[in-house]
């Protein structure tokens, strides 16, 4: 499990009102972003993205990326 406080979260508000959530691990440079669905709760979308991010980070560490 990654240290939550070390993940960089970027919330980007686009001109058209859409919202991007980007997660970055500064140490490895791994970054994952998603356009948030307007109709779904932000917290649930963040939690799902965080799970995918943690899995990707673990895999990256495993293969020594």
């Amino acid at each position: 499990m990654v240290d939550y406080d070390k993940i960089q979260f970027d919330l980007v508000k686009l001109l058209n009102g859409e919202r991007i959530l980007r997660l970055t691990d500064p140490q490895s440079g791994l970054s994952l972003e998603k356009k948030l669905k307007a109709s779904e709760a932000v917290v649930r979308q963040k939690d799902r993205l965080l799970q995918v991010f943690e899995a990707a980070l673990a895999r990256a560490e495993l293969i020594g990326a």
């Binding site: 979260f9 919330l11 980007v12 686009l14 001109l15 058209n16 991007i20 948030l36 932000v42």
Partner: protein
């Protein structure tokens, strides 16, 4: 976040009006048929009613007891995301620190609502276990909460952002 231009502006050029000094400004605004004192009062009212948000007042202030705005910038540069899509704001969250970049030129009410929105959503994302009151908010929900905050407490300030965070259940751990 990419920025295409190089000109930075620490604040919107239209968001700060000088306070009237002595009779100088009053004289400029005086109409031929009005008394000087009334004109001065009108100038003061006009300046007071123009809501000015001083973004530097947010710097390094505690929000919700645990969060901190480490950086806030109004920029005249074009903001873009990684795919070149135009953006109006970006909030970076690392731990409990927020770094905000907002496109300048928004009217003060728009800037204020944007600040309420960014801070509430940032606090939610920054929290591993956010309060239940924000757990079901989607983008429209955050925008609605920000507009409600603007209506209830007025322009965004450190005090008002704290009121909003407290209202939604953010407490110091």
């Amino acid at each position: 976040m990419r920025r295409q231009q190089t000109n930075f502006a620490s604040n919107s050029p239209n968001s700060c009006l000088p306070l009237p000094k002595g009779n100088g400004n009053a004289t400029k605004c005086r109409s031929p048929n009005s008394e000087p004192i009334l004109t001065s009062i009108r100038v003061l009212i006009r300046v007071a009613s123009h809501d000015v948000i001083n973004t530097s007042s947010f710097l390094n202030q505690r929000l919700g007891g645990v969060f901190l705005i480490a950086e806030i910038e109004l920029t005249g540069e074009r903001l873009e995301d990684a795919l070149g899509r135009e953006a109006i704001a970006q909030t970076r969250i690392v731990g409990r620190e927020f770094r905000l970049v907002i496109r300048s030129g928004l009217p003060d009410a728009g800037l204020s609502i944007t600040l309420y929105h960014e801070i509430l959503e940032a606090a939610t994302v920054a929290s591993l276990h956010p309060p239940e009151s924000v757990c079901d908010l989607n983008e429209a929900g955050f925008e609605s909460a920000a507009r409600q905050a603007q209506q209830t407490w007025g322009d965004a300030s450190v005090e008002n952002l704290n009121r909003m965070l407290q209202f939604y259940g953010f407490r110091e751990d």
